[in-house]
Symmetry: C3
Subunit: 155 residues, 3 copies
């Protein structure tokens, strides 16, 4: 099943691709690589209060994973804006997850799975990717997570 068909089947409606929040582009294509800027868990341009702050303090693991999934929705929205259709994605190559973490919060991989799971659901085997997840001090707008991506796409 194609990625766009799977999205429909899953009942996922992608948001409009968020604008970049400063002087850069949300994505750049180079050869068969599509590089997507770090995406925040914004919904309609807004950061929900539940997704603001640090994991291990203001934000619990379930809300963190939900935020990761929302950031991944925005990644898909950017990929569709770049390509016209997610069916032109050949593979998700890499996700980079930056999680705002309070001291001693080390359960980062489970939070980041909120993003990774979406890729596997939408792209199947082609959605399984390399990944780096780290806990950072602060993120733009006080978001609890930021996710960047690299895709392999049709030439």
């Amino acid at each position: 099943m194609s990625a766009e068909a799977r999205l429909l089947q899953l009942g996922i409606e992608l948001p409009p691709a968020p604008a970049a929040v400063a002087n850069y582009l949300p994505f750049v294509r180079t050869g068969s690589l599509l590089v997507i800027s770090g995406q925040l868990p914004l919904t309609a341009g807004r950061l929900d209060a539940r997704h603001r702050g640090r994991l291990g303090r203001e934000v619990g693991p379930a809300d963190g994973a939900e935020a990761a999934r929302i950031a991944a929705h925005n990644i898909l929205a950017q990929a569709r804006a770049a390509l016209g259709s997610l069916d032109k994605v050949r593979a998700v190559v890499r996700l980079g997850g930056f999680i705002a973490a309070a001291p001693d919060f080390t359960a980062l991989p489970g939070v980041m799975n909120g993003a990774s799971d979406l890729m596997a659901e939408v792209f199947g085997a082609a959605g399984r990717h390399a990944r780096t997840t780290v806990g950072v001090a602060e993120l733009p707008l006080g978001a609890c997570i930021e996710v960047e991506a690299m895709f392999e796409v049709d030439a």
Copy 2:
């Protein structure tokens, strides 16, 4: 106008490309990609006291943006050292910005614009890039920012 001509017009004189501060290279080329190591805001090998410390504590936003611009100067110096001329750059693909941030400093995108703006000034539309900006705990030498880059270059 070419990137080198634009540099001249802007009155920007690039510094010598800084040496790597440990056992690695300042850049590596693979196919049409040029990958540039994280650059600090060093001027003549020195980190100005104004660019040492954390945003939101020792370093104000304007000094932080200036530091981002200096790091971007060093990125351009590395690209010129790699290619012989910035005119061989086809596009700036991605910048990664790591900003030393005190608790609750979330105005990271404006600081990072110091680097992004330079790319747009020098390369025009080809200088607009994907970007990820995060706030980190510490950086080498106590710098307030480190910027890495990926360029698409002539084959």
Copy 3:
């Protein structure tokens, strides 16, 4: 001398490639690039107590550099699992080092050299790479370092 021969000569026995700790893959290949997920300093799936915590607090610089080297062993194990043999590596393009850092620990490059040195030992000139090293707040499992990699490999 080939990379596999050099490993033998150095007396380095690579560990089995660690499984990914969550819903992602340890590596993905795209064209001539091999992207390797962030690797922790795990030995036989375990994080030694000496490699848990922050540089500048629980973990000293020598133990940190040792942890970086172990993470780099795991990177090589992943590359071998991906390619069948390290002799198919053409070049190490980039390492990304994320070091858990206590406030004011800025001696990050020396710690990360534990990973970079191994690449130079195993691959010679082809092992010298671009690099970004930053100090982060927290890492998965409480590890003191996480290292990701990009290699150029035989088509």
